[in-house]
Structure formats: structure tokens, C-alpha cells
Amino acid sequence: MMPDIHQEGRAETTEWQPEQKAPVILLENVSKTYGKIHALSGVTLALSGGVTGILGLNGAGKSTLFKILMGKLKPSSGQVRLFGTNPWKNPAPYSRVGFVPEGEKMHDWMTAHDFISTFARLNGLTRDEAKVEADRVLDFVGLLDVAHKQIGRFSKGMRQRTKIAHALVSDPELIILDEPLQGCDPLARTTIMNVIRELGRMGRTVIVSSHILTEIERITEQIVILHHGRLLALGNLHAIREKMDNIPHRIDIGCESPKELAKSVIDIGSVHGISFQDPQKLTVQTHNLGDFHSHLPATIIDGGHKVNSIDNPDDDLASILSYLTGGGGP
């Protein structure tokens, strides 16, 4: 699948012209509470353009944030603006937004083409236009060959792609994807990621949520981290990572002769501990990850070591979160 980058312009939005300066998404001090539970508290965020990843553990408030943005939930306090208008009780901005909800429930009895073309008509397309549009978006996500199969027979990856295709109808300027990669196999994940990257390159504003850091960083560098309903970090992933570099880290190096490698590695200044956990693996502890990584390749090449893998077991959302929340590194 190779997405068509020569798209035929955007859907016309004739009826309604927003302030052009307004950010696509603007949240000001938005909170959402369910009784005593704070799903979101005091989130302030403005996004325009590019692909943004929303990271957070399950229950961090990602879906709540999206539902507030899409006018599905009413914020308990704070201001929400979607293209400069309040989305609550106001479907006007939806013509410029595509939303991929979480969850697997779909209209299983419809074919993918039916599903998309029927709902495309809600964007004001005629029956024929909707069919053409359905073909276009299904082609974009690479499902054209199965377009006339029932959604009920699709795999999870295909269902997710159908949902994305549904969101792409009328070529919206903003696309919100709630956990689009959840439950997909690697192949489907790669396809979906390509689609998302492609959308970003086409100049759409894309917001993707996930609880898996590695997924997000393969899509984008611009991330927002939510934790317990609070905005924890916002900005470039690298900048966040650089800050983490100076805390203790653990690196697993899979190699044929760990002891040989250890002798070379111990010379790197930032290494302060080495252990052998199994015969094919060397575990190195460092307090300056950047420095270690700048020396490691030279060390390996100079020593002529055979390295199978370099793995960072601390490199997941949990360790970033624990760092950002002040718990320190592992």
C-alpha cells in the first residue's frame, strides 16, 4: 500500500468560516469529574498541525480528552475550542474533523464500503459521491480489495483501518484517533502507522493516543503525556528523553561473549555497573545514557564484538512517567 500523496484538494467548507488564526484544538484548564473521580484536571493545551501523540496509561484520561474534544462529554469546567468553536451541543465543526473511537464495536452486518458510504452521506454527499469517496478512503487505508466484505468478518487490524477510513471521509483537517493500534498485529500496526504518518505529511492535524511509547515514537516526535488526568509533559519526545539521560539506566546487550564485551565497555566513563544475567547477555548500568550511547558503537567496532541486540528495558512509558512524576529513574 502506498498512499496517494497527490490528493485532490480538501473538502469545501462553504457554510461556516472559522477564525483562521485559532488553533485547531484549544483546551483551557479543562477538567472532567465523575463524582469523586477526576478523569481530567486542569488540562490546558493548544494544538495545530502535524501529528501529535497523546501518551498515557490506561485510565489516564486520553479517551475522556477526546470525547470532550468531540463534544461527546461536557467538561466539568474550562473552555474547549475546536476550530474556534465550542463542540458541546454543536455539530458544526465536525465537518472538518474525523474521529476514530476506541472500542471494537462496529456495525458488523455492513460491508466496509456500505458502512463508509452510508455514513459519508451524513457529510452531505450524495449517494454516488459517497460511493466514490468510500472507494477513495478505503484505497487510502489499503482495504479496497475487501471493501465488499462484511465488517463482522474482518480482523482487528482491518476493523481499525475501516474506522480510520470512515474518519477520513471528506478529507478532514483534523483527525483524532483513539488507540488506533490497540490489539493489532505487527503488520496491521505498520500499515496503520504508515497511514497516520502519511496524513501528517499531507498537512492534516492528527492526534493519536496510545499507552505504548514505542508505537507513538514511530509515528511522531511531538507528544503529550497525560497521567492521572493531568498534563505531565508536552513537546518533543527527544527533549523529554534528553532530560532523562542523566538518570540511572540499564541496558541489555545481547552478544556472543559478554565477558569480552564487558572488558571493553567498562572503560566507558559513564558506566557504573555491569552484570551478567545469562550467558548471552550483558547488562550495563549507566547514569548518562547519551554519553554511553555515543561511545558504545566505537567500543563495539574497536573490540570486534558480535552484538545481537541492544535493549533498554527501562525504556517504556512507565519509566518515563515515574521520572516525570518525580519518582526518579529505576
Binding site: D185, T214, P297, V307
Partner: protein
């Protein structure tokens, strides 16, 4: 840092995604420096261990659990308890709040005749007491009267209770939680059945008992009266049991064939009130009582009238026909229930 990535490891060498048309996202750098991969960066395989040429056969040893398994009744009791206690407190099966509320309302409303008995005893008016106190007709009416009890209270109560008992398990896939335990499907259904019936008995039969005993206490009834009326009470009690069993069978049968919460509930009410209306219509228009045999309520009422010995309102045929019809209804819906549960796929639908 990016210039180092070519020489870092063989990870990069295998990664085909570094072609021109992929935007620079920093992914490569991440892969190299952080080993951030989960095996699906590209569709090519990344072999981390070169000596795995023939593959391994994993030998897994399952350790059987040798602890004592509680007896069957104890396991069943756990299911029963889970359902029935859900009415009273948290941490058990979560019956919806409106269901609980309706149980309370119906319970209080069913005690209406108790209140009137108390009132008549207080005033000391024998006329009022003949109207509301315990007698043959009132015992029958407490359980089987149509308006309002079998129109507004008991079928709706049963409908709310059976609504999701099996269908929700099917919908949410929680039946898998039961069937992964040492519990037979028969036990599972049986306990659900009994628990729903018990909750109804709590409303129908308990109020009947209260009614009877309040009469004994406030009117100061002696043994002679009790010996006289106890068979009537017992007959009404049996009628109540048949009522509960029938409504539960129909409701659970419907619950086992549907996925939603709505269908079994509405289905039960539609069967009870719909067939009743239909039977009234046919009987009024064409003077044929045969449709009463299709109406669960009318069959119950007919059998109940025969048991208690009140004036029978269905005089075209013998009450044994109604009894036979009730048996057939129960058998039919229990058959549906058992065959559906036996063939139920343990999955989330």
C-alpha cells in the same frame, strides 16, 4: 548522533523502513539507541539468535492442583449467594438500581392488604375486615389477582429480574468466568434460576406470609381459625410458587436466546399481558375461552382458583387443562433454556 546509527548494530541493517519516502521521524535513532522495537518495524524478520536453526520444543509441565475441591453444593451456593445478595449489598452481582428500587416498591405495594388489615383491626370494623382481612378470596387475590398485582407488579418484577441474568453474561462474556471453574452448565443455570425465583419469592411469598401472620396476631386468631384457614394459605402459597416458577421459566428462556437486556424483559411482559389481552378479546367477541390456555396468567389464575377453591371465572373447561398448559409452557421454556445454555459458546458476543 545520527551518523552513528549505521554502524551500531545489525538491527539497522535489517530495517527496510529507511527508504526515502518515509519521513524522518527520529525512529531510526530511537531504534538504534534505545532498542525500541517490538518486532514489527518492518515485515522482515529480525533474528536475534543465530543458532536457533532447528527450533525448540518447549516442554511445559502442568502441575495438577491436588487440593481438595469443595463439594458441588458449596460451589453452587457461591453462585446463588452472589446473585441473591446482590439485591442487598455491594460486592455481589450488581442488579441495577431501578431493579432494586422496583423490588422495594412492589414489596411495599404488596403489603397493601396487610396495612388495611391492620387498619381494620385498629378501627374494629368488621365490614372493613371482611373486605381486606384474610379469607379465601383475599388469599387468592394476594398472589393471583390481576389488577394490579399481575398487571403492574409481578410480571414486571420478573421481567426486570430476568432481563440480563443470562443475556448479559453472554453479552459481556462473563459466562466464561463461570465455565472456566469446576461448575457444570446445569448448575450454573439452576443457580441463576433459583436465585431469580428466590428474589421473587421474597416479594410474593414473604408478603403472603406476613399478611397471614399479621391477621393471626392483630385479630387474635385461635387454633380453630388457623386450622380452618391454613389449607387456604397453603394453597395460595403453592399458587404463588407456580406463578414464580412459570414467570421465571419464561423469562430465563427468553433471556437465554437474546443478547440484550431489553428483549427478555419486554418479551415476558408482552407474553403475559399480550396473551391476556388477546384472550379477553377473543372471549368477549367470539365467546371462546380457548385462548386463555395460551395466556400464562389465566392458566395460573385458573389453577389458583381451583387450589384455593374460589369462584372460578373460567367455566368452559376444567382447570386441569390450565394445569396441563402451564406444564407445557414451563417445559417449553425450560427446554429452550437448557438447550441454549448447553450449546452456548463461551465467548463474548
Amino acid at each position: 548522533m545520527s551518523e552513528q546509527l549505521d554502524s551500531t548494530s545489525q538491527t539497522t541493517a535489517n530495517d527496510l523502513s529507511y527508504s526515502e519516502n518515509v519521513p524522518v521521524t527520529g525512529q531510526g535513532r530511537m531504534d538504534a539507541a534505545w532498542g525500541s522495537k517490538d518486532g514489527d518495524e518492518s515485515t522482515t524478520a529480525q533474528v536475534t539468535s543465530n543458532n536457533a536453526s532447528v527450533g525448540y520444543v518447549f516442554e511445559q509441565i502442568y502441575k495438577p492442583w491436588n487440593g481438595p475441591l469443595n463439594p458441588r453444593w458449596m460451589r453452587n451456593w457461591a453462585i446463588l449467594r452472589h446473585h441473591v445478595l446482590g439485591i442487598f449489598r455491594k460486592g455481589h452481582r450488581p442488579w441495577s438500581l431501578p431493579t432494586k428500587l422496583f423490588i422495594v416498591i412492589v414489596f411495599i405495594a404488596s403489603l397493601g392488604d396487610v396495612g388495611l388489615t391492620l387498619l381494620s383491626a385498629l378501627i374494629g370494623s368488621p365490614e372493613l375486615h371482611t373486605m381486606w382481612g384474610v379469607n379465601r378470596d383475599n388469599l387468592y387475590g394476594h398472589v393471583l389477582g390481576f389488577f394490579p398485582r399481575n398487571m403492574l407488579y409481578y410480571p414486571i418484577l420478573a421481567a426486570l429480574l430476568v432481563g440480563g441474568v443470562i443475556s448479559e453474561d453472554r453479552y459481556h462474556g462473563t459466562s466464561a468466568l463461570y465455565f472456566s471453574r469446576p461448575i457444570s452448565r446445569f448448575d450454573y443455570v439452576m443457580m441463576k434460576y433459583i436465585s431469580v425465583a428466590m428474589i421473587q419469592a421474597f416479594v410474593v411469598l414473604l408478603t403472603l406470609m406476613i399478611y397471614y401472620f399479621v391477621e393471626i396476631i392483630v385479630m387474635g386468631r385461635g387454633w380453630a381459625w388457623i386450622i380452618d384457614t391454613f389449607p387456604l394459605f397453603l394453597a395460595a402459597f403453592v399458587g404463588g410458587i407456580i406463578l414464580i416458577v412459570t414467570y421465571t421459566s419464561i423469562g430465563l428462556g427468553l433471556s437465554s436466546v437474546s443478547k440484550g437486556k431489553f428483549f427478555p424483559g419486554i418479551g415476558l411482559v408482552a407474553i403475559v399481558l399480550g396473551t391476556k389481552t388477546l384472550a379477553v378479546l377473543v372471549s368477549n367477541l367470539f365467546e371462546r375461552d380457548v385462548m386463555y390456555l395460551l395466556s400464562p396468567y389465566d392458566c395460573l389464575a385458573h389453577v389458583g382458583q381451583a387450589l384455593v377453591g374460589t369462584q372460578t371465572t373460567y367455566d368452559q373447561y376444567s382447570w386441569t387443562w390450565s394445569l396441563a398448559s402451564l406444564v407445557l409452557m414451563n417445559a417449553f421454556f425450560l427446554y429452550i433454556l437448557s438447550s441454549r445454555v448447553a450449546s452456548m459458546e463461551v465467548t463474548r458476543e
